[in-house]
């Protein structure tokens, strides 16, 4: 897991963090403007911050300038005007106090604005993440997305909180200093200019080198950390093959490479500090000498010399700050840009308008939407009349072909009419109760769980087809099993039903409705899934079971656990159902996690169920013991089962054998064995040998 280092707050002391090594944002202007919208929901606050900034910089410069009259008029005047001195000093104190107050007010405002801005930024990003299609997560490694929330958000926060203000105040400070110094003594300023030019030159040279070495350091660091991760995670194999010595040597090579790169990078970033500091000292020395001369030769006032000396020591600082904060700001902008990039990615397409509603049959036997709370019973699809589908009466001709009727006739069937895969209007039969009232603006049709694939083609990457011309039909309440070698496309098929991925061509219908016309949320709510990888969430065991249906009572959760045969092991856990699950269920075995996943799906109680290798890590004996639970889970439901173990699929209504993305054979167990094809091979492969 990506760890975030607690960040260093204000003050960039000598030897501070590495400079350079930032990535440049691509379109700076646009990113800045967009980032500012997060910061500046309160424009007035920003104006206030800027005013505070002006006051604090002004008081800083003004305060030190006041020294000049104080020295000239009182201290070095030869007089003894103590009261005058006291009054001037009080003035000075007043100016300083105002400055400190302004600076505090400004930081307080900025911290608030920045925190709120980043809070909103993170929330928008996370909300977007939830809306992205699965294919996006396939293409982007978790670590990469994770760093949007950690590194990038951190950088943006630091930049908004400190760097931005620091940048502006340094610039103001620099301009102010130049003006005052010029006003104090233009000749001496020549010296300052020469030293400043030298400083800038060295900065750009050292900075360039530093950035270069920093990049090298990052590259070798990545290489080394990768090696550490790989070798530690594979440590058991290293030991099994007594590969320790080779591993150590290999690591040493990378470790040394990193050390050399890091030493160089660290040296340059550290060396900038003493170099720039002492350049300012040189300026101080030259100013002292020439100022002294001018004081003798041209009568330059002593107070002027003293403040000029102070200023000449100060003028390096804003430059130093600017170069440092510019790096921060740029890398923050690059980070923000990456975050915006995620936010701008097209979300999962969802043009579906048909929703899922709980339903009952009213006393007249007509389908009605259920309005009271409570569960159980029927579900219905609610189709708005302007959703592009039309409910039409139809008659079934010979061979099962449907013909649309002009008017509902007694005993006629109902069908949906909408463009089929080939574009021409086609009819799709509906089973179950139907309610069509002309005065209402929607149709209700009973959810039955009939799923049909018609000529479905699919590819994860365009040009590399995974599924070719798949045709599958599941009647309500049937159990359909997919078998085939690893990578044949079994999981892919189930991923298409709940629209995790979009098909290239063909049609998938659910109770006669094109799945694309159903609102995704409702489509998925109607499908329960026990997936191949059984991820659990932080929380208790009970919380994890309840994930299936958030309003399930404790009793319902326990009942589900019992039916999944998970109850017995849960009871033996230290805190039973309240045992916390940590780190994706690391404290549970794979088999136990699968049992929990089954319980989770059982609680959801969906009309259609997808079981993707749901029992692969459970040994066959235990599997037998949960068979009853599984049977209960599958009863009255359409079930899609994927399994390696053929014993799991034997009693399916239809077994679909998939090889290389195409259906090789279909039929029930007996038919397929008789057919002596691939299934026969797979099945009997277990029993033939020597």
């Amino acid at each position: 897991m990506t760890q975030r280092q607690t960040q260093q707050r204000p003050m960039h002391g000598p030897g501070g963090g590495p400079r350079g090594g930032y990535q440049k944002p691509k379109d700076m202007k646009k990113t800045i403007r967009r980032l500012l919208t997060y910061l500046a929901r309160h424009k007035l606050a920003l104006v206030g911050v800027f005013l505070c900034l002006l006051v604090s910089v002004g008081s800083n410069l003004g305060g030190s300038y006041l020294l000049r009259p104080i020295i000239n008029n009182f201290i070095y005047s030869g007089g003894r005007d103590f009261a005058g001195l006291a009054l001037s000093l009080l003035q000075l104190l007043g100016i300083y106090a105002v400055g400190a107050a302004a600076s505090y007010a400004q930081s307080a405002a900025m911290v608030r604005l920045a925190q709120r801005g980043v809070n909103k930024l993170r929330r928008d990003l996370f909300d977007k993440l939830q809306a992205l299609p699965l294919s996006y997560f396939d293409r982007h490694p978790h670590g990469e997305l994770m760093s949007r929330f950690t590194n990038d958000a951190d950088n943006v926060q630091t930049a908004l909180e400190q760097s931005l203000v620091s940048l502006i105040s340094s610039a103001l400070m620099f301009v102010g200093l130049v003006v005052i110094m010029l006003a104090t003594n233009p000749l001496l300023f020549l010296i300052t200019v020469v030293v400043l030019a030298l400083t800038l030159f060295l900065f750009s040279r050292l900075g360039g080198k530093s950035r270069n070495y920093y990049r090298q350091q990052q590259a070798t660091l990545g290489d080394m950390n990768g090696n550490i991760q790989e070798m530690i995670e594979g440590l058991r194999v290293v030991k099994a093959f007594t590969h320790e010595r080779a591993a150590k040597e290999e690591f040493q090579r990378r470790n040394t490479a990193y050390r050399d790169a890091a030493t160089r990078a660290n040296f340059y970033s550290t060396a900038i500090m003493p170099v720039s500091n002492n350049l300012m000292n040189i300026s101080y020395a030259l100013t002292a000498a020439f100022g002294g001369l001018m004081s003798i030769l041209t009568g330059f006032d002593l107070g002027g010399l003293v403040i000029y000396l102070n200023y000449s020591k100060q003028i390096g600082q804003p430059l130093n700050q600017i170069s440092m904060q510019l790096t921060n700001v740029l890398s923050a902008l690059a980070g923000a840009e990456r975050m915006f990039e995620v936010m701008d990615t097209a979300p999962e397409a969802d043009e579906g308008r048909i929703t899922l509603v709980p339903a009952v049959l009213d006393p007249a036997g007509r389908l009605a939407e259920r309005t009271d709370a409570g569960r159980g019973g029927m579900w219905a699809w609610k189709t708005p009349k302007n959703a592009g589908l039309a409910l039409v009466p139809a008659a079934e001709g010979p061979g099962g072909t449907l013909t649309e009727l002009d008017a509902p006739a007694p005993g006629c069937r109902w069908a949906w009419r909408y463009p089929g895969p080939d574009g021409a209007p086609s009819l799709h039969q509906i089973r179950g109760a139907v309610r069509s009232v002309d005065t209402e603006d929607c149709w209700l049709t009973e959810l039955r769980g009939a799923v049909r694939f018609t000529d479905v083609d699919f590819s994860y990457v365009p040009g590399k087809p995974i599924l070719k011309q798949v045709n599958v039909y599941a009647n309500p309440g049937q159990k359909i099993a997919f078998v085939g070698s690893t990578g044949a496309g079994k999981t892919t098929i189930t991923n298409l039903i709940n629209r995790f991925y979009e098909i290239d061509s063909g049609l998938i219908t659910y109770d006669g409705i094109d799945v694309r016309a159903i609102r995704k949320e409702d489509l998925r709510r109607s499908l329960g899934a026990v997936l191949q990888d059984t991820h659990l969430f932080t929380g208790t065991i009970l919380d994890n079971i309840r994930y299936g249906r958030l309003d399930a009572t404790d009793e319902e959760c326990v009942a589900a656990a019992k039916s999944a045969n998970a109850h017995s092991f849960i009871r033996r856990l230290p805190q039973g159902y309240d045992t916390p699950v940590s780190g994706d269920g690391g404290n549970l075995s794979q088999g136990q996690r699968q049992l929990l996943a089954i319980a989770r799906a059982a609680v959801a109680d969906p009309p259609v169920m997808i079981l993707d290798e749901a029992t692969s890590s459970i040994d066959t004996r235990t599997e037998r013991h949960i068979e009853r639970g599984m049977d209960a889970l599958m009863e009255h439901r359409t079930v899609f089962v994927i399994a390696h173990r053929l014993s799991t699929v034997r009693n399916a209504n239809c077994i679909v054998v998939i090889e290389r993305g195409a259906i090789e054979e279909k039929g029930d167990h007996a038919q397929l064995l008789e057919h002596r094809g691939r299934y026969y091979q797979l099945y009997t492969g277990q029993f033939t040998l020597s």
Binding site: Y96, V111, M146
Partner: protein
């Protein structure tokens, strides 16, 4: 203290830099601090006496001091970089080497993830700390002390002002830091929370989508997000008090010095140049006080990292390699378990995983171990290569207790395919050669063929030279398993152990692999853990584990006739065959 000693021992060849770097900092500071003094001379002697050559001389001196300071500064940067990064590399290597000596029990105890964090983040934090420490931690106190001495020598009375301001400021900063460091911890927890939520959502995105829990997760995230913001604000609103504290202290001190010093100048007990230099020292002194406070805070944070690192360094691997103490028999592959008891110490539940397990496998036999999830099948085979030590009884290989073998010799006799199939980034060939680094091309091809991997390897874009990504993500699960089997077979070991390592291979391929064991590994003892009856039914001996003991042993026919558990397992996999 113990921590410091352990860590310091990793300085080794960089010890002299650890001394030179601070020394250079001291010299740099001294040069820099001399500047205002010389400046005061220019004002008080040069200008007051209108002595042009004196001013020039002093100017040159200041220039020389600045250049010297720069040189020392650059040198100290160099030394501290070499020292800290060198130390970091030594420490990292030390950790890596130590971890390589760990037994499986040690790995269980620390967990891979935590070991990785310790070797990356923690070492980096310590290294950074050293780099800062060598310069800043020297610079600040030296500046403080030297500047105090100089100011006191200018005017003891004026330096009383500093004595009054410094403690107040230091106390304020330390108090603030104390409060903040506690709040920082709270914030860190909130950060971890938030990261955890994001991480979970990334890993389990399919579950979230399948159950349509986007809204729920968003609310969950919003909660952690708001909590984090609140915690950050808590810290942020306090830590920004630092700057005003600093400014007010500095300004109050300056005004006081001007007031007292100004009157002294007016009374001719102080020179104006001295006053001016005094003012420039104030800034440096107060800045140093703050640096010291900040550095101390950093140090306390680094302490946690240091402790985590030392925990690893101090751990004594619980399996110690033994010296070759006796003549070892030629490898034949006879495995014997004699009243073996075993429990995991690390997990601490204290229950025996295995109790009084005894059996013998003769050379060349094919033995299968079956049993439910979590009955200790893997634990049992892990005892043979001594990944764990028995807690009672003994495991013997070719008649000698495995604890009497040097580890390398013991493990060279055993080929192991672990349940977690790990491949490393590198070519297919590199990965296979782990089994036997000096294998010939023919041996390589033979092993690949035996593991039924040859065909698919040749189907890969570059055959044996195809690059495998870390963790072998570019081959399928079944292919990975076959590569792992080939890797183990390449060793031509006396004992080959397969821990549930054909689960992702389809039955037909698995049958072929078994066939090649039969043909090509006649002399090799094979121990296999499997779920499928089809994988084990041709074994010379099948061992059934139940709970923590052996519940049956025999051939397929014998067990089928007389063992209830075996019958049950068999039945669970056989249904329907009769109908065919």
């Amino acid at each position: 203290m113990q921590l410091l000693k352990t860590l310091a021992s990793y300085l080794r060849e960089y010890k002299k830099y650890a001394l030179l770097a601070p020394l250079m900092v001291v010299l740099e500071v001294l040069c820099e601090l001399a500047l205002p003094l010389v400046m005061a001379k220019i004002v008080d002697v040069g200008i007051a006496g209108a002595q042009v050559p004196y001013i020039l001389r002093m100017g040159a001196a200041m220039l020389a001091l600045s250049l010297a300071a720069m040189a020392f500064g650059v040198l100290s940067a160099r030394f501290s970089a070499v020292c800290s990064q060198g130390f970091g590399a030594n420490l990292r290597q030390g950790l890596f080497d130590q971890v390589q000596e760990f037994s499986f029990a040690d790995i269980d105890r620390f967990s891979s993830a935590s070991l990785i964090t310790r070797m990356t983040n923690d070492v980096n934090a310590i290294t950074m700390m050293l780099a800062i420490g060598l310069r800043m931690l020297t610079r600040a106190p030296v500046t403080l002390v030297a500047a105090l001495i100089v100011t006191a020598s200018i005017s003891p009375r004026l330096s009383l002002v500093l004595l009054a301001v410094i403690p107040v400021m230091a106390a304020a900063i330390v108090l603030l830091m104390k409060i903040c460091s506690r709040l920082f911890e709270v914030m860190q927890k909130k950060i971890d929370n938030l990261n955890n939520t994001v991480q979970e959502n990334l890993v389990a995105i399919r579950v979230v989508k399948a159950f349509v829990r986007e809204g729920y997760e968003k609310t969950k995230f919003m909660r952690s997000n708001d909590e984090l913001t609140a915690a950050s604000l808590n810290v942020g609103m306090r830590i920004i008090a630092m700057l005003p504290i600093m400014m007010i202290s500095l300004n109050v001190a300056t005004v006081l010095v001007l007031w007292i010093g100004g009157r002294m100048v007016m009374n001719d007990t102080l020179l104006v140049g001295q006053l001016s230099s005094f003012i420039s020292y104030i800034a440096q002194i107060l800045m140093s006080v703050m640096m010291v406070a900040m550095a101390l805070l950093q140090l306390s944070r680094a302490q946690a990292c240091a402790r985590r690192i030392c925990e690893v360094l101090w751990a004594t691997p619980d399996i110690r390699d033994c010296e070759l103490s006796r003549e070892l028999p030629a490898p034949r592959g006879r495995v014997e378990f004699r009243d073996v008891c075993f429990k995991y110490v690390a997990t601490g539940t204290g229950d025996d995983v295995l109790r009084d397990v005894s059996f013998t496998v003769e050379p060349g036999q094919f033995v299968a171990i079956v049993g439910g999830t979590g009955v200790g099948k893997s634990s049992l085979v892990n005892l043979i290569p001594r990944f764990y030590d028995v807690t009672g009884g003994a495991v013997l290989l070719d008649g000698v207790d495995v604890r009497d073998y040097p580890l390398e010799e013991l493990r060279a006799r055993i080929g192991m395919v672990l349940q977690s199939n790990v491949l490393f980034s590198g070519t297919v060939r590199d990965n296979l050669l782990w089994g036997k680094p000096d294998a010939t091309e023919d041996e390589l091809i033979q092993a690949a063929r035996d593991a039924q991997a040859y065909d698919f390897i040749m189907g890969l874009p570059d055959g044996f030279d195809t690059w495998l990504e870390q963790g072998g993500t570019n081959v399928s699960g079944g292919q990975k398993q076959r590569l792992c089997i080939a890797r183990a077979m390449l060793r031509r070991p006396a004992v080959l152990i397969l821990d549930d390592s054909t689960s992702a291979v389809d039955s037909t391929t698995e049958a072929k692999i078994r066939e090649s064991f039969h043909q090509n590994l006649k002399d090799t003892t094979v121990l296999i853990i499997a779920q499928r009856i089809s994988s084990v039914q041709y074994a010379d001996q099948i061992i059934i584990l139940e709970d923590d003991h052996i519940a049956g042993m025999g051939t397929h026919a014998q067990l089928l006739a007389g063992n209830e558990i075996y019958q049950e397992i068999y039945q669970s996999q056989q249904e329907g065959v009769g109908e065919a």
